[in-house]
């Protein structure tokens, strides 16, 4: 996770966030679901949103930031339209996950963890998607693709580029 926050104070529309804050007010243990919904809304956790959440939940900004950086799911920078998550679980590892990531890198022209300059794709590695018997596997947005090889990966990415 990148350590610096995006600079978006003043430019971010906080109105939709207020609705989420209202939904969770007076409930306990809501920080993580709150951050999850915020990320769903903006695609990442904008700095202005983190400050607003800290304020409304009576937390220090550092506490909210601490939670946001602890969990792998949260992002502090905008992501691409499509997120490609290549599984690097045990079964995928022994079935060639490294090559799948490399093929994605070649096709997209970015390194693992980066977003393409046109903001169309973000490439990530994940620990395990739980589809081990179809290894190697990757997930594009909410769709999982199994039994991959170089050719299949190229096909999937080409289809998304269209």
């Amino acid at each position: 996770m990148e350590a610096s926050l995006a600079t978006d104070i003043g430019s971010l529309d906080l109105k939709p966030l207020e609705k989420i804050l209202k939904k969770y007010s007076d409930k306990r243990g809501i920080l993580i679901p709150l951050l999850q919904e915020t990320q769903k809304l903006y695609g990442y956790l904008p700095q202005a949103a983190i400050i607003r959440i800290a304020d409304s939940t009576n937390n220090d900004i550092s506490q909210v930031y601490g939670v946001a950086t602890f969990y792998a799911q949260f992002r502090l920078k905008p992501v691409g339209k499509h997120i490609i998550r290549v599984c690097h679980g045990t079964a995928c590892h022994v079935s060639g996950a490294r090559r799948i990531t490399e093929t994605c890198e070649d096709q997209l022209g970015v390194h693992d963890g980066e977003t393409t300059s046109d903001r169309k794709f973000t490439l990530e590695s994940v620990a395990c998607l739980g589809c081990c018997s179809l290894a190697p596997v990757m997930m594009v947005d909410q769709t999982t693709f199994g039994r991959l090889n170089d050719r299949e990966v190229k096909k999937v990415i080409d289809n998304l580029k269209k």
Binding site: I32, Q36, Y71, Q73, T90, H93, D106, A127, C128, G130
Partner: protein, 609 residues
């Protein structure tokens, strides 16, 4: 597969995550379209995973007067034939069948040797329809509990069954409940740990996706037993389908009065909510999970006090994992003795395993405790892919270890597996063949635990990092003789100096591979050789002149243009450009590319000879 005779024809598609990844959604949509277009008198339905993931997508056809048949590897192209032959002409396509009621199939061994308690409904019900669950004795156990049993009776029954926690540690479930029952608190909680984080494990995903009500019913019974009115299911966010099915199941259970106030007219009230994990492996540890549910960083704390005394919001809390809860309704309905009749002296009942890696029948199976690893891998799993040589089976994920061929007759039970240096763990079983490098496997797990260490304990945070650096050195051919001892010393420190299971068990993959595959480490260090020909820095690729036809395929797939040669002429791999990725090796159809190891980069003439 359901056994009773249906009144109307039904086609059921396996739509678990694994099925969808294999193309089940396209198959389902195409079936739906064709059924409507051709006005076929057949009901289309969905189900979860029946365990035969290696033959996904799976489609079951049930018709009056015909045996039920599950077909495997169904693609959109096969649908017309399936509809024409089976549905319209009542002709069973035997060669496509994975499982059938009336005739043997090549895969029947997969199902024959299983005993299904947790998976009793797997692949048989539509998880989004509560009536399907109810029709298979669903919510009967909670009815029995509320009408006939006192909380103490429930705890006594679970204790008598001998059920131990299926999350990995194997703590007796009944005893855990008793502690939570005896603890005083103004409220109590039930938590279901669905944060299945071990890479290579997918049992809990399958159960939550395919039979969510069985988990919820187990939680209800636990709630009644310890005196809790609130339950939380903590699910990994990486399992969107499990989350969706649980949401539907909770809603339906509320509508039917299985959740909410005064359940089934009793004085017992219980509600269940979902919490989505946010991607931290350490949250599988119970105190870290509780911190995460409370909205904090998921860092473990010192125990005692155990969650049974001080858990969620400092109140008595019982945490079990998905599989443990799914066992509960069966035990209540069938009796503790039926459960304890299965298994070994100290490990009762069954265990679900996720078979993956280099195994022929990758999927999910449930076997009685005490079955040998050999039986699970060869009899049920069908042996090693491409009939290659078995090297090791990895059990228990990053906390577990690698068991070698000489120990294949080890029975699957908590104590025997611990003796090997591995652990039962949550049930991931990743099979490795002669092409898997054991040093690389150890490095893989260390990299995982090092990244997932929450950072609280110094030895876990820094010790795993140092171990990983040594392993990286070894796999790059820069290992030194003293490294093996350094690894062992560090492993010992990390074990002793860590607060939670993550750190205490992190060295296990290294220690077991050092114990059983030390020669592989030594080959890397002394001979600069990777016996499995897998570590990129220690291998080289070369064209076998006799076999090369000059088809140019290798040159086309090479990502760095290291291969030259005209069409129909013998090709050449430039070792100075080659990154050892293996794309050419995989692409070649004539066995014309060989992998070499133990040759130093300097002597490139030797490689290219």
């Amino acid at each position: 597969m359901k056994s009773s005779q249906p009144e109307t024809a039904r086609i059921i598609v396996g739509m678990a995550s694994c099925g969808i990844a294999a193309g089940a959604a396209e198959v389902y949509n195409s079936l739906q379209k064709k059924i409507t277009e051709q006005k076929l008198d057949v009901q289309l339905d969905k189900t979860g995973c029946n365990g035969a993931c290696f033959r996904e997508p799976l489609v079951e056809i049930r018709m009056p007067g015909l045996p039920a048949v599950v077909y495997g590897d169904v693609t959109v192209k096969k649908i017309d034939q399936l509809l024409d032959r089976h549905l319209k002409n009542r002709q069973i396509i035997k060669e496509w069948a994975v499982l059938a009621e009336s005739f043997p199939t090549p895969e029947e061994e997969l199902f024959k040797n299983q005993v299904r308690i947790v998976l009793r409904n797997a692949g048989s019900i539509n998880p989004e329809i509560i009536d399907d669950y109810i029709s298979r004795n669903g919510y009967k156990a909670i009815q029995k509990v509320l009408k006939q049993m006192k909380p103490e009776d429930v705890i006594a029954e679970i204790k008598a069954s001998g059920l131990r926690g299926r999350g990995g540690a194997g703590f007796p479930t009944g005893l855990k409940w008793q502690f939570a029952r005896q603890s005083q608190g103004k409220e109590k909680f039930i938590i279901c740990n669905g944060d299945e984080g071990d890479p290579g494990a997918f049992m809990d995903r399958s159960v939550m996706e395919g039979d969510p009500h069985s988990v919820m019913e187990g939680m209800l019974i636990a709630g009644y037993a310890i005196g809790a009115n609130e339950g939380v299911i903590y699910v990994r966010a990486e399992y969107p389908l499990a989350v969706a099915h649980l949401e539907v199941a909770i809603q339906q259970a509320k509508e039917r009065g299985f959740l909410g106030r005064r359940i089934l007219g009793s004085k017992f009230s219980f509600d269940i909510s979902l919490k989505l994990g946010a991607g931290a492996f350490v949250c599988g540890e119970e105190t870290a999970l509780i911190a995460s549910v409370e909205g904090k960083r998921g860092m473990p704390r010192l125990r005692p006090p155990f969650p049974a005394v001080k858990g969620l919001w400092n109140q008595p809390t019982n945490i079990n994992n998905v599989e443990t809860y799914a066992n509960i309704p069966w035990i209540i309905l069938n009796g503790a003795s039926a459960f304890s009749a299965l298994g070994t002296e100290k490990s009762k009942g069954t265990k679900v395993f996720a078979l993956a890696g280099k195994i022929k029948r990758g999927g999910m199976v449930e076997v009685p405790m005490g079955m040998s690893l050999r039986e699970v891998i060869y009899k049920i799993g069908g042996g090693i892919k491409e009939d290659r040589e078995f090297k090791a089976v990895q059990l228990g994920g990053p906390s577990g270890g690698c068991v070698p061929a000489t120990l294949l007759d080890t029975p699957v039970d908590y104590d025997s597996l611990t003796e090997t240096g591995a652990i039962m763990g949550s049930g991931g079983m990743v099979v490795m063949d002669d092409m898997t490098c054991m040093v690389d496997v150890a490095k893989f797990f260390l990299k995982f635990t090092q990244e997932e260490s929450c950072g609280k304990c110094t030895f876990c945070r820094l010790g795993t990092k140092r171990m990983l650096e040594i392993l990286e050195k070894i796999t790059e051919g820069k290992g030194e003789p003293a490294d093996l001892q350094k690894l062992e010393v560090l492993a010992d420190y990390i074990r002793q100096g860590s607060l939670c299971g993550l750190g205490q068990t992190a060295p296990n993959p290294v220690l077991t591979t050092l114990k059983y595959f030390r020669h592989e480490y030594e080959a890397h260090i002394f001979e600069k050789k990777c016996p499995a020909k897998s570590c990129r820095e220690l291998i080289a690729f070369r064209v076998v002149a006799d076999n090369c036809t000059g088809c140019t395929l290798c040159a086309k797939v090479c990502p760095v243009n290291a291969i030259s040669g005209a069409k129909k002429e013998i090709h050449f791999i430039d070792p100075k450009i080659c990154t050892h990725c293996g794309a050419c090796y995989d692409a070649c159809r004539f066995d014309a590319i060989e992998v070499l190891t133990g040759i130093l980069e300097e002597s490139s003439e030797k490689i290219t000879s």
